[in-house]
Symmetry: C2
Subunit: 209 residues, 2 copies
């Protein structure tokens, strides 16, 4: 079936949001941990992790300032540090629950059954239950003028993961770590590695690694 | 194990790139179809699809101008149109092969065993083999100053998909469509839906939908 721009614009707004959001792909689910300058911890689910570059190691994520994500955004801009915490498949409900509109003075850690974890004096809180924890330092805020969303870019300060998920060439198998992926605002997936393929060259077909 | 910023900076560059790239999450794999003003079709694999907003329906992707992705970028800026084509799990090798550095005058469609598909007079080529095809119109180019990457934002012009993958509330199950996901530059995954959860509210725990 074909859905064109006119039909899209005429859909009921929740239907359109679910369609466009879920169609935008299966993505890694992750929790951003942050702390306000008043010391209140915050944790919220995101799915827009973006690889920007490896040297220096830079990742971005997209933030909508008119949602519950605004606490996360404010904390990052105030303190300059935050954490990315991948989610174990068994913790989908707890991670999902962080998207509820709790009052700013509530810590979602406690409300959602997650636990705060301090690591190497890093100024932002990690999620104890998370199989892979990454400490980030804020680098750049980019305003996306067309609809007021914001791209936050940060540099990786450190990574905490199990050595058994890391191959000798640097590849991390996120399926082996049983991390959760998601699509749209409410669908959660598990992933299985099909294959890794050799570097593509014009004159030969890729091999399985 | 902990990897800190100093260790990261000292890793051999290919090892670091593989680590940072694969760790950035499992993502939807998709092919971007475009055509040069000379009429040469191009198709290239990407994995940085980003939901920007649903009304108007906007998606972005990240482009590195120093790679084979530069043909795609030039074509989009020249012609203003391009296509997103999700990849069936059986076509991982063909999709991967589009990342080889073919000469600009070569069409990767032919070289990689993929077929061009014209739809509703849309000015950019679709991939026949793709289970879900999306026509895009260029809207905004955002330069990411910190490392010279580029974020391209476009609006969805139309969507071609099977009705059986679309739920009554607008949710599209990309796992049902057997679309390919990937991590880093060479790892390909399949996904399975675990659950959809009800809208999160502070006073209640989410239910399975």
């Amino acid at each position: 079936m074909i859905i064109d721009a006119t039909q899209l614009s005429q859909f009921e707004s929740r239907y359109r949001a679910t369609l466009i959001n879920s169609l935008a792909g299966i993505k890694q689910a992750f929790l951003i941990g942050s702390k306000s300058s008043d010391g209140i911890s915050n944790v919220a689910i995101f799915n827009s992790l973006m690889h920007i570059g490896a040297n220096p190691p830079l990742w971005g994520f997209v933030c909508r300032p008119d949602t519950v994500q605004r606490d996360t955004l404010r904390n990052i801009l105030e303190t300059g540090h935050y954490t990315f915490n991948f989610v174990h498949q068994d913790d989908a409900e707890k991670a999902h629950q962080t998207s509820a509109k709790y009052a700013s003075e509530t810590s979602e850690f406690e409300a959602c059954g997650l636990h705060e974890y301090s690591l190497s004096n890093f100024p932002a809180p990690f999620v104890t239950e998370s199989p892979i924890k990454i400490g980030m330092k804020f680098e750049e805020k980019i305003d996306i003028a067309i609809n007021g969303t914001i791209l936050i870019i940060g540099s990786i300060q450190f990574i905490d993961l199990q050595e058994e998920w890391l191959s000798s060439d640097g590849f991390v198998d996120l399926a082996k770590a049983k991390t959760l992926t998601c699509a749209g605002l409410d669908a959660y997936f598990e992933a299985h590695l099909l294959q890794r393929l050799s570097y593509a060259k014009p004159e030969k077909w890729p091999n399985k690694l």
